[in-house]
């Protein structure tokens, strides 16, 4: 069941976007998200749409795969849209019983829906085209300036990559413990929400115990291999910008300028 979630998943293929430096993609995603909040009219949204379509085509990730990731957030999307639709004050469009839909409400609902959808597609494109390792490397490198404020940047990145490494192992373990408990007569499926969450205790306790034991072992293994934090550490695969990475930066900046211009001169 946990395996069905596609957000944060990596889609293996070879494309321009896949080869791009992770720092590029992280910064680009951030700029894209900001641009969605700058855009408030049809022209600027048209620019954003064109950009997003171009990026999707470049990524070579099939549309169906991207949309599958949307399924998980459809309910949140629906709730936001409905709230915006019914609760925005303004000139009445239709009203029946106690419910009133305004022109303003329709407009904000539509914009919010588009904004949220683009936001999710944009950020999932980043994770779909970047391996988790590359992503943590990129984050570490982009957050390095925070080290001045004593933020343990290297340690955070190391924790993230270890967490990623242990997800499949812990998932397998969960499966094993579940089967072991089922064979002893545990029941994970019947009953209401409370009964079912209570049934999870005999699953979670051994899982936590084993996770702590693994953490202990891993810490020892890391120390035995001379790990002593980020100080004086070198990288096997350091991130190096290439020509295409600078072009990508130029493109994303141009896109942002276009959005600002479209916002100023555009209609609606």
């Amino acid at each position: 069941m946990i395996r069905d979630i596609t957000i944060g998943q990596y889609y293996q293929t070879d494309s321009v976007l896949h080869r791009l430096d992770p720092r590029d993609k992280l910064a680009g995603t951030l700029i894209f998200i900001i641009s969605l909040f700058v855009a408030k009219n049809v022209t600027s949204y048209a620019v954003a749409t064109a950009f997003l379509i171009a990026v999707i085509l470049l990524s070579k990730v099939p549309m169906s795969f991207i949309l599958r990731g949307m399924k998980a957030v459809v309910i949140i999307l629906l709730i936001t849209v409905l709230f915006n639709l019914f609760l925005t004050p303004g000139i009445t469009f239709v009203s029946f019983w106690k419910i009133r839909i305004t022109y303003e409400g329709m407009k904000t609902a539509a914009y919010t829906a588009v904004r949220l959808t683009y936001l999710i597609i944009g950020s999932s494109l980043m994770t779909l085209t970047t391996t988790p390792n590359n992503l943590t490397d990129g984050l570490e490198s982009l957050m390095k300036p925070l080290g001045v404020f004593r933020v343990p940047v290297h340690e955070i990145a190391m924790m993230m990559s270890i967490a990623l490494r242990f997800i499949p192992i812990l998932m397998e373990e969960t499966d094993k413990i579940m089967k072991a408990q089922l064979s002893r007569g545990a029941d994970f499926e019947s009953g209401g929400l409370i009964k079912r969450s209570k049934a999870l205790i005999p699953l979670l306790v051994p899982l936590f115990v084993s996770a702590f034991r693994r953490a202990n072992d891993l810490a020892m293994a890391m120390e035995a291999r001379c790990y002593h934090g980020g100080k004086g550490r070198t990288k096997m695969k350091p991130l190096v910008y290439r020509g295409s990475d600078y072009i990508a930066y130029a493109v994303i900046i141009m896109y942002f300028v276009l959005i600002v211009i479209a916002q100023r001169v555009g209609m609606l």
């Binding site: 490494r165 192992i169 891993l218 020892m220 293994a221 035995a224 002593h228 096997m236 695969k237």
Partner: protein
């Protein structure tokens, strides 16, 4: 002077209750002296709770002795300043293959040690490729460790240690969680490292069959050295081994029983092949 010198050490685990009062003291190591020579293949045998793993952790400076001193490559392990040098020259491979692989790609994991040592990038790549080739895992360098078999994972872990160019590798029950095929793979790799690269191997195990190729066997019991000698010497003392709850290899056990019943066989038969030759010879002379 040997690569590892253990001079009359003792180590105690202190068990405390919730308030921090001492509940009990377990003397895991009780006066051990051991001198390991460069290039030696030494096996440390012992049952559960014999203190063999505790001894291994002393050599890698994960634990410090309460009494006595451990020198690795001439450096005292209890000196804080030496600890990174010691961990570099005495690499350690642990029991559980899953809990010692840090990278999510094989080659990144092998590069972890050299990265920590601050080695420049081009040299790291060189060392990683070399280590993976030595352990015959080069073709798996881009794989995720999760998809490998137990023996392969353990070979990756060994490669991770080899990439740090250690003088000595301690294998702390590295075969305990593997199937027979995986165990064979790992032992073969350890022997190759010892033969070709002249790395000192300290193999800690409770499987007797794995120790027959070593230069020297140290049998431990209750934190002390119970026996020490070449495999032939050790395995000819079947009764003593049985008292320590250790089982000898099947061929050795069979030879021992046959001899008891009057078949004339030589001392210290270790493998099936040796037993066959000895039996043939004994029949020829009858």
């Amino acid at each position: 002077m040997g690569i590892v010198e253990i001079d009359n050490i003792a180590y105690e685990y202190i068990r405390r209750d919730e308030e921090g009062n001492v509940e009990g003291i377990v003397r895991a190591i009780d006066g051990i002296s051991l001198d390991i020579k460069k290039g030696e293949f030494i096996s440390i045998l012992g049952g559960n709770g014999s203190g063999k793993s505790t001894l291994a952790k002393q050599i890698n400076a994960i634990l410090y002795p309460c009494e006595g001193t451990v020198y690795v490559d001439g450096k005292d392990t209890s000196d804080e300043e030496n600890i990174w040098d010691i961990r570099q020259s005495a690499g350690m491979v642990f029991q559980n293959p899953d809990n010692q692989i840090i990278g999510s790609v094989v080659e990144e994991d092998v590069g972890f040690g050299p990265e920590n040592m601050g080695i420049p990038t081009p040299e790291i790549i060189e060392r990683v490729n070399e280590a993976l080739k030595t352990l015959r895992m080069y073709e798996y360098r881009k794989h995720s460790p999760n998809r490998l078999s137990g023996g392969q994972k353990q070979r990756v872990a060994i490669a991770g240690v080899v990439a740090m160019h250690p003088k000595c590798i301690i294998m702390d029950e590295s075969t305990a969680m593997l199937d027979p095929i995986g165990r064979k793979e790992v032992i073969r790799a350890a022997r190759a490292l010892n033969d070709v690269e002249k790395v000192t191997i300290i193999l800690i195990t409770h499987y007797m069959e794995e120790t027959i190729y070593s230069d020297r066997i140290v049998v431990m019991d209750k934190g002390r050295v119970a026996m020490t000698g070449t495999p032939k010497e050790i395995f000819s003392r079947v009764d003593e081994l049985k008292k320590l709850r250790l089982s000898v290899p099947q061929s050795t056990a069979l030879a021992y029983e046959l001899k008891k019943r009057g078949v004339r066989l030589g001392e210290g038969i270790l493998s099936g092949k040796e037993l066959v030759t000895a039996l043939c010879r004994s029949y020829a002379t009858m």
